[in-house]
């Protein structure tokens, strides 16, 4: 009977483990549903509650069109600049040693730490044509920053700056510089090494950083709101426009605009996902040795251990 009692004991442990596992899953799913899935689903539901045409009308007004255009413009300018800067910055942080490196490292995280409204205000302090530090000089040169798309791009760049850096730094650390050194012994100069070795090696990090930066740039409200002046049809991005509709009790319009904003983000997400999938499929290649008499590949050294 000793055997069966041990069996029962094991079973209890297994059941206990299963219970804990399901319990954990339930908690995670409930948490996600309450905080994320249900609210977002409700927005979609509300937007199309009165029919597709009503929603379409709300987002096809010239005002709405301009807001969409402006939001896309912010992303198209701010994200590529921050991507280039982010990659350069990550390389400097990982591969170089210099005084003040810790300071630079900390400074990059500032946009995470500072409230976007404060960022907006600081830009006003600098660029305001009335009393900004170099606002008047710039105005004299014909460049106005505050209450124009120029300031809004600056604000968007500010808030979306850290993402690419933060995603690329760990990848660079992980891959090490062995491959780059190997490329240099084979005759590759710095640029050739960057384009042929470094960039392809960090592309996952860059991709993910771009997704996050884009999402942030698309949705930015606080900083842009302060520097834009919210001039309808001129300096109103989609989030600002949405807020205005909501404040003027155009609820259906607000939800429709919200759907457009969400869709823009989803398009970016899917596009990146698609690129990544295709890339992975290429990398994976045929999985088993097929040629006759060939050795079966023994993967005795796992990928991760390859780098010091």
């Amino acid at each position: 009977m000793a055997v069966s009692s041990t069996d029962a004991g094991t079973k209890n442990i297994v059941q206990g483990g299963r219970l804990a596992r399901y319990g954990l899953r339930t908690v995670a799913l409930t948490y996600l549903s309450l905080l994320l899935l249900i609210p977002v689903a409700l927005v979609f539901y509300k937007a199309f509650e009165e029919g597709f045409s009503v929603a379409w009308e709300a987002v096809s007004t010239p005002e709405a069109q301009h807001a969409i255009y402006l939001t896309v413009l912010m992303v198209v300018i701010a994200v590529p600049i921050n991507t280039v800067f982010g990659i350069a910055c990550a390389i400097v942080l990982v591969r170089h040693n210099f005084r003040g490196k810790a300071l630079l490292n900390a400074a990059i995280d500032m946009p995470f730490a500072i409230s976007p409204v404060v960022i907006g205000l600081s830009l006003v302090l600098l660029y305001s044509t009335r009393d900004g530090w170099f606002g008047q000089d710039l105005a004299a040169a014909g460049i106005e920053v505050i209450f124009t798309p120029v300031g809004m791009v600056l604000a968007t760049m500010f808030v979306s700056l850290p993402f690419v850096v933060r995603e690329v730094v760990p990848v660079l650390q992980e891959i090490g510089d062995d491959q780059e050194q190997a490329a240099s012994t084979l005759g590759a100069g710095r640029w050739q090494t960057f384009w042929r070795i470094t960039l392809p090696s960090i592309r996952w990090g860059v991709t993910y950083g771009v997704i996050l930066a884009t999402a942030r740039a698309l949705g930015e409200f606080g900083a842009v709101s302060v520097v834009s002046g919210r001039i309808s049809g001129s300096t109103e991005t989609l989030p600002l426009y949405l807020r205005k509709l909501f404040d003027t009790f155009d609820v259906a319009g607000a939800y429709a605009a919200a759907v457009v904003l969400a869709l823009l983000a989803l398009v970016v997400l899917f596009a990146m996902n698609f690129i990544q999938r295709r890339d992975r499929a290429i990398l994976a290649g045929p999985s088993v040795a097929t040629e006759p008499g060939a050795l079966v590949p023994h993967l005795d050294v796992p990928d991760g251990k390859e780098n010091r």
């Binding site: 491959q179 240099s184 084979l186 070795i197 990398l283 590949p297 990928d303």
Partner: protein, 331 residues
């Protein structure tokens, strides 16, 4: 191409990695840099490659001063311990890399890649990615990649260090044969004295950022100039002021005035050879290497007290500026 290193110094912070190192490597030779970790052997190799710039001194490759020439212009082949395979490229593209950088014609690149993959026995793996290869295959691919650009010298930094023992043995012999075929001046770094003796024509023993001795494997084994070389290349016992190889230790049951007393701790049978592990009266360990017949004749057993007489020994006077070496042949 010959390699000449003249009075090279390299310091990392306070740590002196290379202290006034000079070395000459003959054209077409196969040389091992042997030493414990931290002895400066890898740094010396990296200085020759141009991956590390010396603080002082010169590096000459076939007579030309290369000290200030950038690594990409030195035309050296370099293999890393962890292969440094380009993970996002196929075996073909890895091997073709140096040729593509040099903008060689497509057909030439194609032919050369096939030729090299045949040489390293990876023809069937041309379209694979490094992650699909075993460690030994990756290192062979890295060798093909380094050889593709017809380097003046081939430098290997612990090339077999990350591989398991069996693959390591195979690759050693394979490297030997490869060198007979391509005849490129080769230097490889290792901390494994057996590997160095097995593969190299010339061994350079390094310790504490300096060269202890350079010479042929038999030379180093039979005529070590320092105590370090004697104990690092092969095994050495210390009996008082003498250093004795395990196969020069003679055991006896007869007590004599000149013999040292030792107690047998363990007898290890290694096929034809038998290793006797003992402790001397002064507490130092002693290892003797005997044949099976000798052990049977002496009827050795654990716990026995035996008397030790070296048949050959060396004395090092390491304190003077020129260490004195003496060979004693005892009865």
């Amino acid at each position: 191409m010959s390699i000449k290193v003249e009075n090279v110094r390299k310091q990392f912070g306070d740590f002196v990695a290379l202290d006034d190192v000079s070395l000459e490597v003959r054209d077409g030779s196969l040389t091992a840099l042997l030493g414990p970790s931290g002895s400066g052997k890898s740094t010396l190799l990296r200085v020759i490659a141009g991956l590390e710039e010396p603080d002082d001194g010169r590096v000459l490759i076939s007579g030309a001063d290369m000290t200030r020439v950038a690594v990409q212009n030195r035309n050296v082949g370099f293999c890393f311990q962890h292969y440094a395979a380009f993970k996002h490229m196929t075996v073909r593209d890895n091997v073709a890399f140096g040729l593509q950088i040099r903008k060689r014609p497509k057909q030439e690149i194609k032919d050369r890649v096939h030729e090299l993959l045949e040489l390293v026995q990876l023809e069937g793996w041309i379209d694979r990615y490094p992650s699909q290869l075993s460690g030994g295959q990756r290192q062979r691919m890295a060798l093909a990649r380094a050889l593709a650009v017809e380097p003046k010298v081939l430098l290997l930094d612990e090339p077999f260090g990350a591989l398991d023992a069996r693959v390591r043995m195979e690759l050693r012999q394979w490297l030997r044969r490869l060198h007979d075929e391509v005849h490129v001046t080769t230097i490889f770094v290792t901390h494994d004295q057996e590997e160095a003796m097995d593969v190299a024509e010339q061994i350079v023993v390094m310790n504490d950022g300096a060269i202890e001795q350079a010479g042929s494997p038999t030379d180093l084994y039979d005529h070590p100039e320092t105590e370090f070389v004697m104990s690092f290349v092969g095994t050495a016992n210390r009996i008082g002021s003498l250093l004795v190889r395990p196969h020069d230790v003679q055991l006896s049951h007869l007590r004599t005035d000149s013999a040292d007393e030792a107690m047998i701790d363990r007898i290890v049978h290694l096929g034809f050879e038998v290793r006797i592990e003992m402790t001397l009266a002064d507490g130092n360990p002693l290892i003797a290497q005997l044949t099976r017949a000798q052990v049977e004749e002496l009827e050795l057993a654990d716990g026995q007290i035996v008397y030790v007489l070296p048949s050959r020994a060396r004395v090092f006077d390491g304190n003077g500026s020129s260490p004195r070496t003496e060979e004693l042949t005892l009865a």
